[in-house]
Amino acid sequence: MSRPPPPEHFQGKAVADHLKDARMKGAQASTETHGPQLPGPIAALLSCIKEISAAFLILYAILAALIPNEPLLFPLFACFGLGLIIWETGRSAIRGWGKLERLHRVIEEERWEIEHHREQEKEELTEMYAAKGFEGKLLEEVINVLMADDNRLLRVMLEEELGLSLEVYEHPLKQATGAFFGSLIASSCLLLSLFFWPILGLPITAILLIGIASFRSAKLEKRRQIYSMVWNIALLIFASSATYFLAKALS
């Protein structure tokens, strides 16, 4: 390409580098910071089970260290559970809407680019399809076909330049419903175990819940299940025991 690209579009970078930046931008828009890696209500449910179990066990460890001879208060954990259920549900919805807002901004920006920087978009498209092995007359024809329809072009740029997927994300409220049920299940199980088996019920249930949730999450994300389960349980035990000993030391 003989003509130098305007700085506002490529910002002085080569087309290939610009495409890498675009992919990064797409990845940033489609992920949830510190949220479940996979979108959807099931992932949110499993994530909440893990987080609620961890929070309960850490609080249990602190109380066990600071007031060892006092009976652990069931109402305290019940209130704590309600607060966590509301928090986790709301946060899940907020994270989902945040992601959606970022995605919508990206699509709006891309449409603007298509409308105002057609030549540069054509260069990007040419670079992408040349990398796929198209060349000569065929490459020219493919680019012409794609450039003919702005709707089609927008879809191609979203999917291939930014690496985004269409029609795969669940509505934030649907995701939050998963989070709600995850929090509710975890809180209920932990409270019941505390009620019926005050000394060891809660730690054992927390470990069981986090183990099951980690196993299912890993399966959903197509990772090694046993590996993930063991690491999560180990991390929980480490976090709660560290909290316990620090609280003991400080008291």
Partner: protein, 656 residues
């Protein structure tokens, strides 16, 4: 495997202002989760508020738990809106309501504050539901307008290009059944095109070499090659889109007046409250704090002056009237339309599809030269030929034949000449005759010029000709006037004192026939979309104007008129979107009923506003002077709200 994304979804998404209910990123099944969210949250908050009120007398903590949920659900959006307004340096009713509701917590009246917020959110959500219209109009037009054109390259190959990349002068190919993408001149081929949604003319128009064709026209039968005359941004459809945008911008908005009033009202009330809180101790020797304190009185004044009844005075009346109209098959896009309707004194009606049914009817078959065969035979042959065609004239001839129990004749060697007509051979009493039907020019080719001038020349519109050997027949068509037009127009002129006028893209002769039949004195024929818009602008200066129409060509005028009314069944999607009122059953007899309903609505809105203002005046001043305690001010305030709501419900009746 995920489903395929239709290309149009992006247009719809952007036209909607990035609505999450049609977000291209969400799975189709989960999009419905985002539908009417403000309304859903307001309803849940209302239930929680009722629960909180019930629990208040038995278990205060449980009541507060429910109350905190109410504040979260409706208080957070109200707070966000208020912050947004304040960032834009705007102090309006939103800010006042939020401030009053939040301050009510401080003086221990959280329930009243929550009630204000719930009612406020409910009215806002309902208003949103009925006023979302302008985005759709442009979307429909863009949907009608093709995005690509098939450009004929110099080597004879065809390349599909985006219409905004096609240069002026480039040749483009338009096949049968396609919509013309750009304005152009025919350089080869011939065809009939249908312009009914662009110009209102129901008759198919023949297009041949050197004829111009507008973007948006529907190519019926042949293939046309056009030389592009205008860039995409200046095509007929683009101009209509621009016209609609301008018209919508110029449209009078009663809501703006209300907002303007609300802004001043809110600023005044907030400043007054602040003033009273700070100065009363100096004037009346009362403390700042405590139940007799100036801060308490100022807050009571602020809550009493919160325009709750004022806010629901108009939407509840409008919603009741809207609901009543919906049961009659009249869809109103927003309550303020009723206000505007009541102020109108002129009614402009499109002819084709509005006063008439828009469907051609064959009213006469007559022999005009050497007609030896009976007209029944001519009809049978015409029906035999038209069986193979698809345009409105074919439909009218086939309907007429069926009505007269005439069976279509068998036609051999059938041939369609796009843009001209149909031809073939028909056998009558054992003799085969060449037969032709179609455009006068097509028939003229089969006759000598003198005969053509004498027999066909005088006939202008809504006719087609049939030639059987040397026998010439004429088929005359009419666009049938709707039966209900007579009573509706009579009632509008005599009982509602409205002045009817006809605005049409059709010829003067056709317009006069309809106007004379319906006793309409003023007609404006041969109007293009921009002429209609201009005429509507001129007429609007004389008084409020209702425009009734159905075609894309009516859309700018519908949007510009004080009130635009479209026909739901026959009307184009664009006209329906650009209008304020849709008659779902295309029933014109509802026009007088609607005018009545709008006038009654205006009367009730005025009663409501007077009552709401009276309650505010009655409650605020004594509250400020310390004569009315907070609980009584709240009861007066909410009591006024209930009475206003009940008064509005009177509009639910459908038999006004």
């Amino acid at each position: 495997m995920r489903s395929d994304v239709h290309p149009y979804i992006f247009d719809e998404f952007f036209a909607s202002g990035r609505e999450e209910t049609i977000s291209p990123f969400l799975t189709p099944s989960s999009r419905k989760w985002g539908k009417n969210l403000p309304l859903k949250s307001a309803i849940i908050a209302a239930i929680l508020l009722a629960l909180s009120f019930g629990l208040f007398f038995f278990h205060k903590e449980a009541s507060y738990l429910c109350l905190s949920s109410v504040y979260f659900l409706v208080g957070t959006p109200a707070l966000l809106n208020s912050i947004e307004d304040l960032r834009n340096m705007e102090i309006n009713i939103d800010v006042l309501m939020t401030l009053a509701a939040l301050l009510s917590i401080i003086i221990g009246s959280g329930l009243e504050g929550a009630l204000l917020l719930v009612l406020f959110e409910l009215s806002g959500a309902m208003e949103n539901m009925v006023t979302e219209k302008t985005k759709g109009a442009l979307y429909s037009l863009r949907k009608l307008s093709p995005k690509t054109a098939l450009v004929v390259e110099t080597d004879g190959t065809f390349v599909e290009r985006a219409i905004n990349e096609v240069e002026i002068g480039a040749p483009i190919l338009v096949k049968a059944g396609e919509v013309v993408p750009l304005d152009g001149t025919v350089i080869s081929g011939s065809s009939f095109v249908n312009l009914v949604h662009l110009t209102g003319e129901s008759e198919p128009i023949a297009k041949r070499v050197e004829d111009t064709v507008q973007a948006g026209a529907y190519n019926l039968d042949g293939t046309l090659t056009l030389k592009v005359d205008r860039a995409a941004s200046e095509s007929t459809l683009s101009r209509i889109i621009t016209l609609i945008t301008q018209a919508q911008g110029a449209k009078p908005k009663l809501q703006r007046l209300f907002d303007k009033f609300g802004k001043r009202y809110s600023v005044t009330i907030i400043l007054l409250s602040l003033f009273f809180a700070l100065t009363f101790p100096y004037f009346f020797s009362i403390p700042f704090f405590g139940i007799e304190g100036s801060v308490y009185r100022a807050l009571t004044f602020l809550i009493a002056a919160s325009p709750c009844a004022l806010i629901i005075a108009t939407p509840t009346a409008y919603l009741s009237a809207i609901s009543s109209c919906a049961r009659k098959g009249v869809l109103l896009k927003g309550g303020v339309i009723l206000d505007a309707l009541a102020s109108c004194s002129i009614i402009a009606l499109d002819k084709t599809g509005t006063l008439t049914s828009g469907k051609l009817t064959c009213v006469e078959v007559a022999g005009i030269h050497n007609a030896q065969l009976p007209t029944q035979t001519a009809l049978a042959i015409a029906a035999g030929l038209e069986t193979h065609a698809v345009h409105p004239i074919s439909e009218a001839i086939l309907t007429q034949a069926a009505k007269q129990n005439v069976l279509p004749s068998e036609i051999t060697d059938f041939k369609s000449v796009p843009g001209y007509g149909l031809q073939g051979n028909a056998t009558i009493d054992g003799t085969s005759y060449p037969v032709f039907i179609g455009h006068p020019d097509f028939i003229a080719q089969q006759l000598d010029p003198a005969l053509w001038m004498e027999k066909i020349g005088p006939w202008k519109t809504l006719n087609t000709f049939l030639l059987i050997g040397t026998s010439l027949y004429i088929f005359h068509f009419e666009d049938e006037i709707r039966k209900e037009s007579f009573a509706a127009l009579s009632s509008l002129q005599n009982e509602k004192n409205m002045k009817p006028v006809i605005l049409t893209g059709d010829h003067t002769e056709n317009a006069h026939v309809v106007a004379d039949t319906l006793n309409i004195k003023t007609i404006y024929p041969n109007l293009r979309p921009e002429d209609k818009l201009k005429k509507v602008g001129e007429l609007s200066k004389e008084g409020g104007l209702i425009m009734v129409g159905d075609g894309v060509n009516d859309a700018p005028a519908l949007a510009r008129a004080t009130v635009g009314i479209s026909m739901g069944k026959i009307g184009s999607a664009t006209a329906v979107d650009a209008s304020d009122v849709v008659f779902l059953h295309d029933d014109l007899s509802l026009l007088p009923w609607l005018i009545d309903k709008s006038r009654k609505t205006l009367r009730i809105v005025k009663e409501n506003l007077a009552l709401a203002l009276a309650v505010i005046c009655f409650a605020t001043t004594p509250a400020l002077l310390g004569y009315i305690p907070l609980w009584l001010a709240v009861i007066l305030h909410e009591g006024g709200t209930v009475i206003v709501g009940l008064n509005s419900l009177r509009l639910l009746a459908t038999d006004s």
